[in-house]
Amino acid sequence: MTLLSAQKISYSINDKKLFHGLSFNVQNGEALHVKGSNGSGKSTLLRILLGITPPSKGKIERSNPDLKISYLGHKNAIKNYLTPAQNLELLFNESELGIALKWLRELDLSSVQEELTSNLSFGQKKKLALIRVLAKPQELIVLDEPFVGLDQDASQILNNFLVNQLSNQVSLIFTSHIHPDVECKVLDLSNNSA
């Protein structure tokens, strides 16, 4: 079943076309790897698919207008003046918090869970932000460069999680310069600007 369908979408900034006439579908349980050089519009395409940014032309159709989406972009959406544990309390309700704390331990962040997030390293902040996706997977997971900043263990955990979610019919759209160990369609934006 088609979860999301892009029909001839184009996007331009100041008369510069980032991409044009893109059409593709994402089925249930399918992964789409959006590739391209820096500035080719990968992140913009993700934001268009999420409905955050409107496309210059074309349209996005979803099987369900209330499609539940987990998203992690360039911005981590975590509060630096709170501890990791407090950040999780903001993100999750009581029933979900246990799972989130389990991921916190899994990602080796339990030793810093009571420290201020502003004191954490870039990679630790990235791991903390990833828990938003890991502890509450939805029908569609959208990730923008999810492996940047992660150590080998965390990358492997994320990779296994994504494989597991795909087998549970969760769909995945991601950008990454690192090719993960998941079976996926590839959309290359490098040669799409005109």
Binding site: G51, I52, Y71, K75, A77, N80, Y81, L82, E89
Partner: protein
């Protein structure tokens, strides 16, 4: 909605500078003003209310400065958009929390200072109500200003919305005179409460549209 209110309260409470700063500014102005003039030359109680009004404007201005900026910078607005599809609830909850945690304490301190400077103690509830409603209007207004320019420094937008605060100041001035002379107070309060309710219902819609243009 309640969860959003509790989240915003928790966040604001943790940001000491955001809520304590405006309160300290208010206290500082209200304490420093009588010290800086020769009280024997003036009838302080006649114009002390004006100082409270200006302090109110200033503290509301400072309190709302970073209302949406932080959520914009760290990507929380995008996450909120994916869940709610707009920012109406977020804007409404933020304004409620800011009014309750900063606006009401400011009104309380302002009321204490007003009767400490010659206003009858019996007028305390009236003054408190008046200042609280004024803060509701001012916080709505400056929240709108904040949402206009979050990507260029929120203060710019708050400054641009400052002229819109003038009618509120005029209304507050009239209401204060009604407290001083005991005439038409209920009518003024009813007017301010009515305007406050309408503004509180409509302003989050406008703020929501402004925030959406910023994350596009």
């Amino acid at each position: 909605m309640l969860r959003l209110i509790s989240i915003e309260s928790f966040k604001l409470f943790r940001k000491l500078k955001s809520w304590l700063g405006p309160l300290l500014i208010l206290v500082l102005v209200l304490v420093a003003f009588p010290l800086s003039i020769d009280i024997s030359q003036y009838d302080l109680e006649k114009f002390y209310f004006s100082i409270i009004v200006v302090s109110l404007l200033m503290t509301a201005f400072v309190a709302t400065e970073g209302m949406f900026e932080e959520d914009f910078e760290d990507g929380s607005l995008e996450q909120e958009f994916l869940i709610e599809k707009d920012f109406y609830k977020l804007a409404l909850c933020k304004i409620i929390v800011y009014v309750l945690l900063i606006g009401v304490p400011i009104a309380f301190i302002g009321s204490i200072f007003s009767f400490a400077n010659g206003v009858a103690i019996g007028s305390f509830p009236k003054v408190f109500l008046l200042l609280s409603l004024s803060n509701l209007l001012l916080f709505n207004l400056f929240a709108f200003g904040n949402s206009l320019s979050i990507n260029k420094g929120a203060m710019l937008g708050v400054l641009s919305s400052l002229p819109l605060a003038l009618p509120i100041i005029i209304l507050l001035g009239r209401a204060i005179r009604s407290v001083q002379f005991g005439d038409g107070f209920s009518e003024m309060i009813a007017l301010m409460a009515g305007v406050g309710l309408i503004v509180s219902a409509l302003m989050p819609l406008i703020i929501s549209a402004a925030l959406k243009t910023h994350i596009d």
